[in-house]
Symmetry: C2
DNA sequence: TCGACAGTTTACGTGAACGTAAGCTTCATG
DNA sequence: CATGAAGCTTACGTTCACGTAAACTGTCGA
């Protein structure tokens, strides 16, 4: 054993792909269309490296995509929430404490979250409706089966 | 006003498209790939006519597709449940009363319903999980906003 | 330093799910 | 029975979301 598998602690594109259950191509594609906010400018040709936070972001993106069934384009506007949170974190980390600025950032994040929630709630209620319908049908079929075999 | 809009009571493809919110092309495509169980053989060239039951079936197909996010191919196996129910209805209507036959048909329908339910339940729980996560985040953002403006 | 595995860019290919156009035909209505 | 809106078939076009191949590095452990 002596291959260039793991750098040290850094995550490369293949590692991330395995972690979130996708392919390197998909990650590059998502980056290409701007789904993964500009991560530290990188020398063209050099390897992409990812932080744990970026992996989490990607997971969230794929989760939203899978559960909401939206196009990657619609998703772009949806994940602006994450961008807003990132900016927020960065500024707080950097010591910015202007309450007006913070208020604006928080309000923006709140708006994005509400957008996401509206979508999710509607979908969830539709899905729960479907589930109820199916369960009702199932019950009826079961009743008819029981009626066939009284014992 | 004097156009060949509505036949009499029969539904044509354009009517159905409007009713379920899709296009005639899509309906023809679904028929082509076998998503809409063979409806009464039709002379090539003559207009397609649909019963209310077929409209309902199409609605269900699109509902499953939209909410489960499955491919049309996967959907084909999923909607076999509807086919089973259709066969059941037809046979009962035709006076078949062989209990073994009925039992077999009902059991088949039950199996298909359970398949659908398994999918739906998993999705529903994932979506509810997502909703909970988003609501938690929303709560935290709100807390921070309140902390900014004590009054 | 070197070897090779994993990564990079570029570009063309692909499958799914329809859109669209052309030319012709039904069919309810006046 | 004439007419025209809507439908039919056939076939090629299109968009999205990646897959895949080629030719070339970057990078880490030995």
């Amino acid at each position: 054993m002596s291959t260039a598998v793991a750098p040290d602690g850094a995550l490369r594109i293949g590692d991330v792909a395995r972690l979130v259950g996708t392919t390197a191509r998909t990650i590059r594609y998502y980056e290409e269309i701007g789904l993964l906010g500009e991560h530290a400018t990188r020398q063209s040709g050099s390897h992409r490296v990812y932080s744990e936070a970026e992996v989490e972001h990607l997971r969230e993106v794929m989760r939203l995509r899978s559960l909401l069934g939206v196009s990657l384009d619609e998703l772009k506007t949806l994940v602006e929430a994450e961008e807003a949170r990132k900016v927020l974190r960065a500024e707080v980390q950097a010591g910015v404490e202007d309450p007006l600025r913070l208020h604006s950032l928080l309000t923006e994040a709140l708006g994005h979250l509400d957008d996401q929630l509206a979508l999710v709630r509607r979908r969830a209620s539709e899905l729960n409706g479907l589930q109820a319908d199916l369960e009702e049908r199932r019950g009826k079929v079961e009743d008819r089966l029981r009626a066939l075999q009284p014992r």
